[in-house]
Symmetry: C2
Subunit: 160 residues, 2 copies
């Protein structure tokens, strides 16, 4: 199991005999590491970056935000507090429900997430650079299959 993705290079030999389980686990650590480094470039945590990413095409209430991020509403209060203090998001009262608060990106927030997303996309492109175009297409297809099946299972669970 892939608990040490950053082992020294003398482990490269071991990586060439990776099982499916180890390979996917290590890949997830590598990709999460890329996200972390890109977020850190802008002095953001992964969760702050993810908050901004969620807000790119949405203007949810605090409650919806909690559901989207899988966090308790009180955690989202703090998350949005810190982002707001940095001028990345703003709160606005909801016209439809005077208890509710709508959260949206500021100009700065939009700029941050766009730059971070671009850098991350570059990381993935670099990672995929060793594959031929055909291999990349094959990989993308297989990954899509996995995600579609996984999402469908999640959907069934949700409505069961």
């Amino acid at each position: 199991m892939a608990f040490s993705p950053d082992d020294p290079p003398d482990d490269v030999g071991a990586r060439q005999r990776l099982t499916e389980v180890d390979g996917l686990a290590q890949l997830s650590f590598v990709i999460q590491g890329m996200l972390e480094r890109r977020a850190a470039e802008h002095d953001l945590s992964v969760i702050q970056t993810r908050l901004l990413g969620v807000l790119r095409d949405r203007q949810p209430t605090m409650n919806e935000l909690a559901r989207l991020l899988g966090l308790d509403k009180s955690s989202v209060t703090g998350l949005v507090d810190r982002a707001e203090r940095r001028g990345l998001v703003r709160r606005a009262p909801s016209a439809a429900d005077r208890r509710a608060v709508l959260v949206s990106l500021t100009e700065d927030g939009h700029a941050f997430v766009t730059r971070a997303a671009g850098g991350f996309a570059g990381d993935i492109t670099t990672l995929l650079g060793v594959l031929s175009p055909g291999e990349r297409a094959t990989l993308a297809g297989l990954v899509s299959q996995l995600l579609v099946a996984h999402a469908a299972k999640g959907g069934i669970d949700l409505f069961a």
Copy 2:
């Protein structure tokens, strides 16, 4: 970009047209989520589980542990403190260097990590269940290629 891996099921349609970047990002979130859930089953965090995983076949010093986990040594002090308090790891003085401290798994720690790893392997196997044996082999091969190339790049950086 995949900042919302847990979007509601009406996003499944969108997932069928995933780009390579989005697909890999979402896959990493799905896998990390599996790790989190398996760790939580044993009341552990991902980093605590990873600590135990690293110790399965090693008995490193605090310093080596910090390098393996990519953390500051002071962070590792706290991490090991909490794991030791729960009886999962133990500290022992190094015979070779009286400044150094060796960290190792206890019986309990070994049992915990073995169970968590087994559950996680099952999750991945289930995830891969929608693919044919040939597709699984293809995927594993491509993932290995990516990781080997990535590790090699890391190695070059380390020795540059």
